[in-house]
């Protein structure tokens, strides 16, 4: 990109597609340092002291918003949460106007969750504040992709050479897209599994394998990442029903016996227990679901530190 190879120069994090391998590694290594902060007597560092962060969540979310909020507090930033219901967007204000009002209030970092793909990009190109994408439509969820990568690297030592299965609702999943971009860049092999309506063959153009048979794939993988079936978003035509989905693509205890003993079970949450993942497996020895939550905090601290810590003027 430029002479600052191995250094961070971005004010915004909009997606993982545009990041280089060096930049991804830099975020992961920075996250190592911030994970260590959680073990100190004083779990707060002054890195973003005097900065203001606004969590602008136009689409509901509890865990991502909480994780960003805690990350910002550990970095000593001041933080304001704005949710869709409480914002003037419901009164007809445009996203750009909302953001300009926030900027006029001297917000340094805006963490945006929005139902439209490209909303963070739109905002980042129009205002001087840092913009962090906390999920935009079915486009990307970069911090989720990074925390999944971080967790795999932590548990497996490295990402290159691993075979990762992403299972479920790929079509509507920004988590899947961010994971695919990041995993391929880092040298992993990715197989997408699900019904053909939710995992169309077109995804193969990204450099992944598509399979509609879960039991063929399970014995060959180092990691299974199960995505939530977003039944609140889905119209009926994508699959006949939950029972049918569980029968074909749910990770049941019987199917889990096909996994290698050291295969990691991941899930971005919230879990539909008994749908995409059996309840006992979610709490079992192979599950790293709670590690993902802990690592999410460290990764978000790293991202806020990097994007919020560089000179923007």
């Amino acid at each position: 990109m430029n002479s600052d190879k191995g250094r961070w120069t971005r004010k915004d994090l909009l997606g993982l597609r545009e990041l280089s391998v060096e930049e991804i590694n830099l975020v992961l290594e920075t996250a190592d340092a911030f994970k260590q902060v959680g073990t100190r007597e004083v779990k707060k560092v002054p890195a973003l002291q005097g900065k203001t962060l606004i969590n602008l969540f136009i689409e509901p979310s509890t865990r991502t918003r909480t994780s960003f909020e805690l990350a910002a507090k550990r970095l000593s930033a001041d933080i304001v949460n704005i949710s869709a219901a409480a914002s003037s967007l419901t009164k007809g204000e445009t996203l750009k106007d909302t953001a300009r009002v926030l900027e006029a209030n001297h917000a340094d970092i805006i963490v945006l969750r929005h139902s439209s793909a490209g909303a963070p990009q739109f905002l980042a190109s129009r205002i001087a504040s840092s913009v962090i994408n906390a999920g935009d439509g079915a486009h990307e969820h970069p911090t989720q992709g990074l925390l999944d990568l971080y967790t795999i690297r932590e548990k497996k030592g490295a990402v290159a050479g691993l075979h990762v299965a992403i299972i479920g609702d790929i079509l509507f999943s920004r988590v899947a897209r961010s994971n695919i971009f990041a995993l391929l860049k880092m040298g992993a092999r990715v197989t997408l599994v699900g019904p053909s309506t939710l995992v169309p063959r077109e995804f193969e153009q990204l450099g992944v394998t598509v399979s509609h048979n879960l039991e063929d794939v399970l014995p060959t993988v180092d990691v299974v990442n199960l995505l939530r079936i977003q039944h609140e978003r889905q119209r009926k035509e994508y699959f006949p029903g939950l029972g049918e989905y569980i029968r074909l693509f749910g990770l049941t205890k019987a199917r889990a016996r096909l996994l290698r003993p050291d295969c990691l079970i991941m899930h971005p949450g919230p879990i539909n227990r008994g749908v995409e993942l059996d309840s006992e497996l979610a709490d079992g020895a192979q599950s790293v679901i709670l590690d993902q939550v802990t690592n999410g905090l460290a990764v978000r601290m790293a991202v806020l530190y990097l994007c919020g810590g560089i000179a923007t003027s």
Binding site: A33, F34, V37, V42, A47, A311
Partner: protein, 191 residues
Amino acid sequence: MSKTRPTNESDAVRIFDAETMQRALRRIAHEIIERNRNLSALVLVGIPARGVELARRLAAVIEAIEKVRVATGVIDVSMHRDDIGTRRALPVVKVSQLPLPLEQRTVVIVDDVLFTGRTCRAAMDAIGSFGRPACIQLAALVDRGHRELPIRPDFVGKNLPTAFAERVRVRLENIDHQPDGVWLLKPEANE
């Protein structure tokens, strides 16, 4: 901190070679022993990257002299710096490692070059987030002056008067894959 400023390579003045650097480290080690009678309560904490290597070398010298293995650690100062938001590119943050608890211990911060004192201030803040040591001391291979804070070193390898625009370059074999040495570099004339 002034890594991008152009310098006149042909005018580099050598301050230390491998032998004189080792001699300076031996003297610092002796001074640390003299100041701190209870070596088991001591921890040498390096600032990445070269301070960490210097702390390791000082611990080795102290062990050779006193037959006591002194604890060492790493303190990363990136999260505690006072110039966040003024740089256009951020380097990677390293993981800090300190023997805990720090209470009742004497911490010696080890850095290669002491300049404005701002890195040392950040290091003291960072150490404070791990606990409250009995005492903090400062060792630097080179003190080049130009302090911007009320900070002074306890142990110095060489006092080197410099102009603000000059640069001090330190090379350590284990880090830089070049022979040990310290050079003073003049700024380029037309800058």
